[in-house]
């Protein structure tokens, strides 16, 4: 299967009496951004953990880059990277040391070079030798994602990448994810923010009650619902727009915010 990054069929998982996944099916194409949408406790993280070989499924099959997650976990781990719900960074190490540690664990030739490269790309070069405990939430998340990109994995899992971030940091993460997909990395992300899925994803799947209840491109999903009506409403700025206008930091972030709003309308 050269064009399928993830193939999931009839996936089942229970925690004791709680039946979380009741037969989940979906597939993700290589090089695309796939968003798994669902509320709290819908089982999004469970799916990510199964695909990243951290949990064993009770039933069904899942293949990542052609490797079965249950029988060939090493093959899966070679080609993926996981950015979990909490920024899994080492607070006592510096940003550079965090990146170099992962580069060494991936047995790369020149860890320092790899680290410098990513620090530059993620705008962390200035903070490279500071301990991560001094970083802001947005910087931590950026470092977290940068750590996941060490060794250029083909497939990146982002489990609620913007949970707990302020609007600016969220837009930064969105920009980064779009860039990654532009370079051919497959991105699998989970989110509970509808806007995030709308902004980023090529394809969206909605997880509810243990099953995928709807899936497709945004346009396809929109067709499932009654056609849009035309209404004339005075458009008030949202609080987010006001916040970003007042804070007025970095041009690109604001531009991205405006672009985002335009696309979302």
């Amino acid at each position: 299967m050269p064009n399928t990054a993830i193939q999931v069929k009839g996936l089942q998982k229970s925690y004791k009496k709680l039946h979380v996944l009741k037969g989940v099916d979906f597939q993700v194409e290589q090089g695309s951004i796939f968003a798994l949408l669902g509320g709290n406790g819908a089982g999004k993280t469970t799916i990510v953990k199964i695909l990243a070989t951290l949990l064993k499924p009770d039933g069904g099959t899942a293949a990542v880059n052609g490797f079965d997650v249950a029988s060939e976990p090493d093959g899966v781990r070679q080609s993926i990277s996981l950015t979990g719900q909490f920024a899994a960074v080492d607070e006592i190490l510096t940003g550079r040391e965090n990146l170099m540690m992962i580069a060494r664990l991936r047995h790369l030739k020149n860890p320092r070079h790899v680290a410098d490269d990513l620090l530059n790309r993620f705008g962390l070069a200035g903070a490279a030798d500071r301990r991560v405990s001094t970083y802001s939430g947005g910087m931590r998340r950026r470092l977290d994602i940068a750590m996941s990109l060490v060794g250029e994995p083909q497939l990146l899992f982002l489990d609620e990448p913007t949970a707990g971030l302020d609007p600016e940091a969220r837009i930064e993460v969105w920009k980064m994810v779009k860039e990654l997909a532009g370079h051919g990395t497959t991105v699998f992300l989970t989110t509970q923010y509808l806007e995030e899925a709308e902004q980023l994803a090529d394809r969206i799947a909605i997880l509810h009650g243990g099953r995928i209840i709807a899936g497709g491109t945004l346009a396809e999903l929109k067709k499932l619902f009654p056609p849009a009506r035309v209404e004339y409403v005075e458009k008030q700025p949202t609080l987010e727009e006001i916040f970003l206008a007042i804070v007025g930091s970095g041009g690109p972030a604001r531009q991205a915010a405006r672009d985002g709003k335009k696309e979302a309308r």
Binding site: K49, A52, T53, L54, L55, K56, D74, R77, Q78, I80, S81, L82, G84, Q85, F86, A87, A88, V89, D90, I92, L93, E97, M101, I102, R104, L105, R106, H107, R131, M147, F157
Partner: protein, 256 residues
């Protein structure tokens, strides 16, 4: 298999480097660990010491082995704490989703515990020397004493790993070490067991700390160790084995 083993050692050295940095960057953990035992040592030598009759003329010599065990028992709670934090912050998940040997992350913490406790023990021995501790023991006796202390550290570190891996809160991860710290008080570490009332004496004489303390005391005094050293080794190895099995089980459950 050879490739996996090579991978295990190189991965583990990366993990070891990481957690060693944690120690050297926050020396306060070493200070907190050594402070309480040193305070106890001062208290017992200069306050209670005059009233305690141990049959030796140098009470620091008598006291030191027990103080070292107390230091190790409190030192290992940091390992539980670090393991717990790694688990809660998702650091282990990140490692486990990578193509690396899974137990490398755990062994990194365990070896770090050996290093940090060795530093604490060395600091306390230095303070004891200032307070009048003297040992006629030769190199081999010192090495044997160091070996017992290392084995004791390793055994308790695996006990700490069980706590760190299965705790539900930070407090839970650290609280288990209190009874371990208290154990030396009901042993021959501070006073001889003979004057203790029957049941207390029976407990004191048959619990691991007494055997380990007696073995260390004889080694450092340059005297024949007799049966105590075998009893001490048996206790350490026994605790080590049981704790290791349960810790590994907890680790696998947490990282299925």
């Amino acid at each position: 298999m050879a490739a996996t083993r090579r991978r295990f050692f190189s991965d583990m050295s990366v993990m070891l480097g990481r957690s060693l940095r944690h120690i050297f960057r926050s020396m306060d953990t070493i200070i907190t660990v050594t402070l309480m035992p040193i305070a106890l040592m001062l208290l017992f030598v200069y306050v209670f010491g005059g009233a305690i009759h141990t049959g030796t003329d140098n009470y620091v010599n008598y006291l030191l082995p027990g103080i070292l065990l107390i230091a190790i028992a409190s030192g290992i709670s940091y390992t539980a704490f670090r393991l717990f934090m790694d688990m809660r912050r998702g650091v282990f998940e990140r490692f486990h989703a990578m193509p690396i040997a899974r137990s490398a992350a755990l062994w990194g913490h365990v070896l770090t515990s050996l290093v940090s406790n060795a530093i604490s023990v060395a600091v306390i021995i230095l303070v004891a020397l200032v307070m009048g501790f003297r040992s006629p023991a030769g190199v081999w006796s010192w090495l044997a004493a160091a070996g017992i202390l290392a084995l004791f550290t390793l055994a308790l570190t695996w006990v700490a790993a069980i706590a760190g891996l299965s705790a539900k809160s930070v407090d839970g991860a650290g609280a288990f070490s209190y009874p371990l710290i208290f154990l030396p008080f009901i042993s021959s570490a501070f006073v001889p067991t003979e004057p203790m009332p029957g049941p207390v004496r029976a407990f004191a004489e048959n619990q691991p700390v007494t055997a380990i303390v007696e073995a260390l005391r004889s080694l450092l005094a340059g005297q024949p160790v007799g049966n105590d050293i075998w009893l001490a080794l048996a206790w350490c190895l026994g605790i080590l084995l049981v704790a290791y099995i349960f810790a590994m089980r907890a680790y696998k459950r947490r990282s299925a």
